[in-house]
Symmetry: D2
Subunit: 352 residues, 4 copies
């Protein structure tokens, strides 16, 4: 059994990893921290957890939380928090996985650029840790994650886009210019904090695009794609919210490279993900919906090049709270501690 | 490991038990049957199951299904189907659990009355089996279920009403006349078949009451309450549908017996369910919503007598597809085969 | 043309009356006030109004708003606001219609009791106005509203319950004890302010009962029913929220008086509302849903006594924002100014 | 007053035009026809219309419907029906507006190609009428519609795409290759017929792309764009369904022409639509959602070129049942009969 502490336990990302680890045969949750409701059992804040997890909510800065036994820390926290905690926890010999953008980049300069997009402080608090951080998208960085002590879990939109574009970019199947990520997300991606745009009567029966001037996830998408391509790649990214709770569907477009058609594309995708248990590649003959991945850690890719127009087209489906967040985190923890990659993630979700 | 065959595998009730048994450490699914899509793997019909369960769909009447090894059969079928199968399977030494009204009553006469309410054939096809059938609401019939070979799983509305009313009726805390069950259900309770009333644009943003002339579940509610009271009990039952997928919230009303107030009522409920792991009793100081039981096998009861008017009031919350159907079925199977009652049902659901 | 000023213009209740008056042939909106976003055109706050209504938002206390020409003022404001404005406006010769509980009661004592239920200040600021206030449920107080200068618009739950119970109470068709109002509302009834319980991911797929200790609308329900009965009437009231935007469905229960059955009940309801253009009486043979009244000013009553149990049962359907609020307000304004009661309210809503 | 007969009256498109015409000061509905429920008043099929429209449903082929007085016929019917009726009605001196693809193309060859995409009969039944048919997108064909006797109302997706792309194409602001229409629709666009994919429990909480091999609306989009460009234009089109009732949001992409940036683009769009009362052009500084057009006849365009990547980006929002169907039809009827283009379409919709 590997013991895990969770910071940011009361947000949707915290709940997600709690739910998975409670069912996981090899991980044990030893302490929870959050910035509010301190002192209460988490089941007083989230009654559905009563009897499953009744640990008290501690302050992340408390001696009690610091001293709690753990081999790993999951920081399911907003941008800027993990970088304040990682140093201490790493020094105590723990492995550290952070949900935010704090450890997705390996240089202070890139982080500063990222922070600018979210109007955050551009100065990273522990820049010395950045070079050692690993980007936690298992399908692209499996080997580095295995040995990693510090992992930056990917953004939900980024997971859907990267898994959908990686094979095409890696093998030059699409042109490097004019790549488009048209991404639709359920509302849970915005977190648990009530805001006017997600007040039920406003959101019910309404969808919209937002941050057209530049969502922050575009940075990690471009960084990873550029690594795969061996050259600079830019993408136009249109984040959208639709009135459902869970799920991301990203329609990914580009120009097919000369001589590349549906058949070649499909074969390349199937080959690329041949050993990835969580990525399924389909063609348009099989109807796919976000319901097919809801509640589970899978990414379902529909490869459907539009040969008539020369447009590359892949539709990527994930559950934003699982493969897009807590599921990827658990997958990373499995890799970090030498467990089978899908341990605790291999059961079917519920339908409908 | 105990092997189980499932009939009606492609409906919501069949999917529910498949999902639970796939995660269950002691049950193994050996064969699936349904009336349509025969020959296909179930994951071709329900793609979310791909890789989790790819068994072929057989005809329930086929030699292959009849011969499939199994110690238990779950008949997740509509009214009238289980009674055609139970005899054969029982004769083969298997235990049989049926989801419909086929085995909820112990006499042909009561069944005929039930069948009349659903415009079905009043003549039961295997009346000789009825006396041995056990009503599968574990909290009320635990001991009989333990030894049972034939179990009639309860109706979803009935589960919510019976758990909400049983302690009050058993102890005479409410008057026997004028009991009201005002029951709201999510749409999944109506099954997977598309109908105009549940076509998305019609159902979205709309709720309604239906079958005001008499829903069939009232019969098992009255039978069980009468058994508990030791006298004839009738209830007025108003089934309603609200635009959500899963969940039943039943508001149960009656007249408080003389001298009964909130305190006494609450104590009686807590005592009645002291040993029932799936029933939680709360008072109105704790906010409760169907989301608290969604995806899980719990029943959450809010006991909130209205002393000002003398009105008894209990709000009962379940997931109609879990505690209202497949979860109760798994709980019954656990009891029938001597496993801990909550085995495979003890993990937290997902939120939100 | 009759000119109208609106306070609380940016809430759902304010928008509702704006929408109706913009389409109304005889009313003209001359000024808007709200407590926030002052100075902006209302269409900057609510873009869907662009081009339809671009009036600036004023402060209700500003000289500009006070001086704006108007024969009527609609105060679409929360409890406690209207009582601060009514005196001034009435003194200026305007008629005043208030949405809150401020003018639903005719004595300081009753108001104090009401205020206690919402944890408000029990001391009314203009008690001298209370005796002259008229309760604005047109179907019950049509003649008084015609001459009224000060109208307290009814609560949305109260509208649904009163219209559903009035005939039975008036004619003694149900027993005076044990009356139950089981009321389900869409989320818009809670207003536009974001709160955790109505944050989209929390509300989606979840329903709950609330304020079981006593919702404030029960007071006006009981007052009106008592007036109709000529004796004291109490009701047990269970407010509930379901995940949809608009609509209230109230299931109303009681004990049928001796000799009263479905036929007699239905006839009494049809007779009672024979001249009310907005109330339709149906029996259970006609399927009814809240979608049938969504967007319109109607109340649809399904009369379905349960003779088997002696339980009186009426299901009342309204749109909480129309007949439950702005539509009733417009109906009242029509009466107050001598226009046909349904003027501007006689078009069909949209479906689906 | 102009009299109108409606065929296909009981579908969502029929209801839409009924609702608008009932509120319209200059049009009067004289007869309704449909293929089912013949003989019943439409209000028996759609109870929300009771009292607003109680006309009987006739058979379109009946002498009674043929003889009903009318200056115009709206055929709110599926593909293949209008072409059987148009000849007769035109011969009787009536103007004919059809909702389907029957009269969107001016040659049998183009129609045959269209019909192939929907697996329909490629042989048009009244090819002689095709040359005189006018494509009913008022913003692009206003003058021709004014004199038209036969109008093919545009497809809902096509409306959103064409309004969003027309200025850019007309003025060569984007490159002619690689144009992408990523279109999300609410479920009402699929019509009233219950199907598994839109059964409430399946659709709730799930979105998907469909017809990736080629949706039929692409043909009219390409035809119109080609006319505007004066050269052949092709688009890649990805239709998607999201779990809401009304609304289309189309994200339109292409490559910005050399020297074209946000400023120039925005100015061109504002200029192009300067006189179009139903099209509003915004930049990304103003949050826009489909709720802003829900229930109304507007198209809201967000122009947000991504200069960093050189990607042209316009987000087009309409209500698929209004501007996407019945609203455009009413706008066309206004033009055809010389009424102000927005007569009966100039009121605010309801929110939320």
């Amino acid at each position: 059994m590997t013991s895990v502490k969770i910071v940011g336990a009361t947000g949707y990302g915290g709940l997600g990893i709690i739910e998975i680890l409670l069912r996981h045969p090899e991980f044990k949750i030893t302490a929870l921290a959050a910035s509010q409701e301190i002192g209460k059992p988490i089941s007083a804040v989230w009654p559905y957890l009563e009897g499953y997890c009744d640990l008290p909510i501690l302050s992340a800065g408390s001696p009690e939380f610091a001293a709690a036994e753990a081999e790993a820390v999951v920081s399911a926290t907003p941008d800027g928090v993990g970088q304040l905690l990682a140093g201490r926890e790493l020094a105590a010999g723990r492995r550290f996985l952070d949900y935010s953008g704090d450890f997705r980049f390996n240089s202070p300069a890139l982080y500063a650029k990222y922070a600018g997009r979210i109007a955050g402080d551009p100065v990273h608090k522990t820049p010395e840790l950045l070079p050692g951080a690993v980007y936690g998208l298992s399908e692209l960085h499996r080997d580095e994650i295995r040995g990693a002590r510090l992992v930056g879990n990917p953004g939900c939109f980024a997971v859907s886009c990267l898994l959908g574009l990686a094979p095409a970019i890696r093998h030059g199947l699409i042109r490097p210019e004019g790549i488009i990520c048209d991404c639709k997300s359920g509302v849970s991606g915005a977190g648990k904090k009530p805001v006017p745009a997600h007040h039920f009567p406003e959101r019910y029966g309404s969808m919209n695009a937002y941050r057209l001037s530049g969502h922050q996830h575009v940075m990690e998408i471009e960084r990873e794609l550029s690594l795969l391509a061996g050259r600079d790649i830019r993408v136009a990214f249109t984040p959208q919210v639709v009135p459902m709770c869970r799920g991301i569907m990203s329609c990914l477009y580009g120009g097919l490279s000369d001589g590349v058609g549906q058949k070649k594309l499909l074969a390349a995708y199937r080959d690329f993900y041949a050993k990835d248990v969580f990525v399924l590649v389909k063609d348009a003959s099989r109807p796919v919906a976000t319901a097919d991945v809801r509640g589970g850690n899978r990414c379902l890719l529909t490869v459907a090049a539009d040969e008539r127009t020369g447009v590359f087209r892949v539709v990527s489906h994930i559950d934003n709270l699982v493969k897009g967040q807590a599921g990827s985190a658990a997958q990373n923890l499995n890799l970090m501690f030498g467990y089978p990659e899908d341990l605790g993630l291999d059961g079917p979700p519920q339908h409908p």
